[in-house]
């Protein structure tokens, strides 16, 4: 009796929170129906599955946008498992945007279409990948976090291993899978320790922090370190970045465009919630790490990520490897607002992620196209390509300028916001490490310029050996122009974008401080 009374309350809560879960439900249905379509109509349905999935994604997009109307401020769903906040919706939109762009590109890209073992499975994976990403970014319960992480990891192992026929991608896939499994095992052990110390798995409310601060120093530090290991692997920070170059080089460009943006954004979302737990509602910026001050360690990791990412990119010959190291470097930049965790840094982190997703999608589309159209994978082979497609080359230069952070582009506003939030934090806390972080970030922008400049240098300044005749497909031009327009808009008139973002992040951060 006590149970069933209890049960009715719980069941009501679940049915109550279902409508907020529409996008994920839609994606799962699409996933399942896609499997059946692929199963029963194998022969003639070669092209049906991708369109169906795309339609599903559009539907999910519609529902996510609709969620803006429904969700005004933070709601806890499925009795504490998931927290749906306006900021979360922005992340979901990002994932859908990245998925759709990748979807369109994959239909066209040679590597995936000619996959020996059929290409339908690739598109089937997408919706469930979205579900995993959504869960990961929304969850605030350790179990859900672990589940989301696993879902995303397994989906990305499959996508990476999709081209397992060539030796290169097989090797990349195995490194990725094993390294991923190892880090999730370590994370699980960490979660178990945390559970032991605090007695609860849910990050909502302050019981987690209260119990944790009572626990002995070393074990809580070790537990947090292990959990952080899982997150840092996801956003490919320094100690866990070894797999990135090989994976990026081994997999086809559209996949990488997706893998380098969506999971990383989700990783930052969940890291944001995890670190969010450790803030006290007193002042706008006050991270109280239980017993052991992690801020300086994270600052050190961020500096190493930036510097190593940039410097190793300097020495790369292969363009994809270079872009891999550049995305590692950007992780370093994105970690900066996480450390200071003020209201302003929350908005600047989301802004930077939005711009980062746009930039990385654009750059990997271009790299992919260059590879398909001109077979240009090495830097040398980019010689004189500007002559053959002027419009795309100009787009590439604008995107590279944004990656470096030159003013008229979004990259600059992003970096400026991030720098000013760290500077603001320094003003309050006077922690010298924040200054070293700023100086390192600034120096890295200069180093970054060095290798980003190489591409236009080869494309524009040098002459091509042979004449290429391939025409650039129209759809690619359209997507590129949209992405570049987004980047330039973020640079020249970022007011609307940031107003929209900060309005939402403000609530989430606000609520925590209430």
């Amino acid at each position: 009796m006590m149970n069933n009374l209890n049960a009715t309350v719980l069941l009501e809560q679940i049915t109550g929170s279902l409508p907020y879960f529409l996008p994920e439900i839609v994606c799962s249905l699409v996933f399942i129906v896609a499997i059946f379509i692929d199963l029963f109509t194998r022969k003639q349905s070669r092209s049906l599955v991708p369109f169906f999935v795309f339609a599903g994604l559009l539907l999910a997009l519609f529902f996510t946008l609709d969620q803006f109307r429904m969700v005004k401020e933070e709601i806890w769903l499925f009795n504490g498992m998931i927290r749906l906040s306006p900021a979360g919706i922005i992340y979901k939109l990002l994932f859908l945007l990245a998925a759709m762009v990748t979807h369109i590109l994959s239909i066209r890209s040679k590597a995936i279409r000619l996959a020996p073992k059929g290409y339908a499975e690739f598109f089937i994976m997408l919706p469930v990948f979205i579900v995993g990403l959504n869960i990961m970014s929304m969850s605030s319960h350790l179990l859900m976090i672990f589940l989301g992480m696993e879902m995303v990891s397994i989906a990305s192992y499959i996508l990476v291993a999709y081209m397992a026929e060539q030796p290169r991608s097989a090797e990349a896939a195995v490194k990725y899978a094993l390294f991923g499994a190892l880090s999730s095992a370590v994370m699980l052990y960490g979660i178990s320790l945390l559970y032991g110390l605090t007695g609860t798995l849910s990050l909502q409310g302050s019981t987690f922090l209260a119990n944790l601060s009572k626990a002995p120093e070393y074990i809580s530090a070790l537990a947090i370190l292990m959990v952080l290991a899982g997150f840092l692997y996801k956003i490919s920070a320094v100690p866990f970045h070894f797999y990135v170059p090989d994976v990026y080089e081994g997999t086809p460009a559209p996949v990488i465009a997706f893998l380098s943006t969506a999971p990383k954004a989700a990783g930052f979302a969940v890291l944001f919630t995890f670190i969010g737990v450790f803030t006290l509602p007193m002042e706008s910026y006050h991270l109280v790490w239980p017993k052991f001050n992690w801020e300086n360690i994270l600052v050190f990791i961020s500096i190493c990520t930036m510097t190593l990412g940039n410097l190793s990119a300097l020495a790369q010959k292969n363009v994809k490897r270079m872009m891999a190291y550049s995305s590692i470097a950007h992780t370093g930049f994105m970690m900066m607002p996480l450390l200071v965790f003020s209201e302003m840094s929350a908005a600047s982190l989301v802004f930077y992620i939005v711009v980062y997703v746009l930039m990385n999608l654009a750059i990997f589309l271009l790299v992919g196209h260059m590879e398909d159209a001109y077979g240009a994978t090495e830097l040398e082979s980019y010689k004189g390509l500007a002559a053959f497609n002027p419009l795309l080359s100009v787009c590439m230069v604008i995107v590279l300028a944004s990656l470096v952070g030159l003013p008229p582009t979004g990259g600059f506003t992003g970096k400026f916001l991030v720098f000013s939030s760290v500077l603001e934090a320094y003003r309050i806390s006077h922690n010298p490490w924040l200054l070293y972080l700023l100086v390192a970030a600034v120096l890295n922008t200069v180093i970054a310029l060095f290798f980003y400049l190489r591409l236009p240098l080869y494309m524009y300044f040098r002459k091509a050996e042979k004449i290429y005749t391939s025409k650039t497909p129209l759809y690619l031009l359209v997507i590129m122009c949209l992405l570049v327009a987004g980047i330039l808009m973020a640079g020249v008139f970022p007011s609307e974008l940031v107003k929209w973002i900060s309005a939402h992040t403000a609530e989430t951060a606000q609520i925590r401080f209430k």
Binding site: F146, L147, I154, Y157, R168, V174, A185, Y189, S192, G196
Partner: protein, 103 residues
């Protein structure tokens, strides 16, 4: 049942975890590494169960344990599939030899 103190469980799971870690770090063979990872996951599960037992609401620990086992099963499946694929390409399962990328 009650006489078994919590520390013993934790020690055993810690030992298992370290054996798994040793396997991953030192052994060259992919399958052995996979096994090592599975041992570490098992250590985590034992930990969860043990803490669950001594917690007031012990169901959280068990729940997490169940899900952890299922998840690791899924990832083993995928990892093993990839390892077999690698085996077909390279005829070896020693990661050290797989370095076509890092030329």
């Amino acid at each position: 049942m009650s006489t078994i103190p919590l520390e013993h469980f934790l020690l055993m799971s810690a030992a298992l975890f370290c054996i798994g870690l040793y396997a991953v770090l030192t052994r060259r063979n992919l399958v052995i590494m996979l096994i090592g990872i599975e041992l570490m996951v098992n250590a985590g599960v034992i930990n969860l169960a043990a803490f669950g037992a001594f917690e007031t609401s012990h169901h959280e620990g068990q729940m997490m344990g169940i899900f952890a086992i299922v998840l690791s099963a899924a990832s083993v499946a995928v990892a093993l599939a990839i390892i077999l694929k690698v085996y077909q390409q390279f005829n070896t399962i020693e990661p050290g030899k797989i370095d076509t990328l890092r030329n």
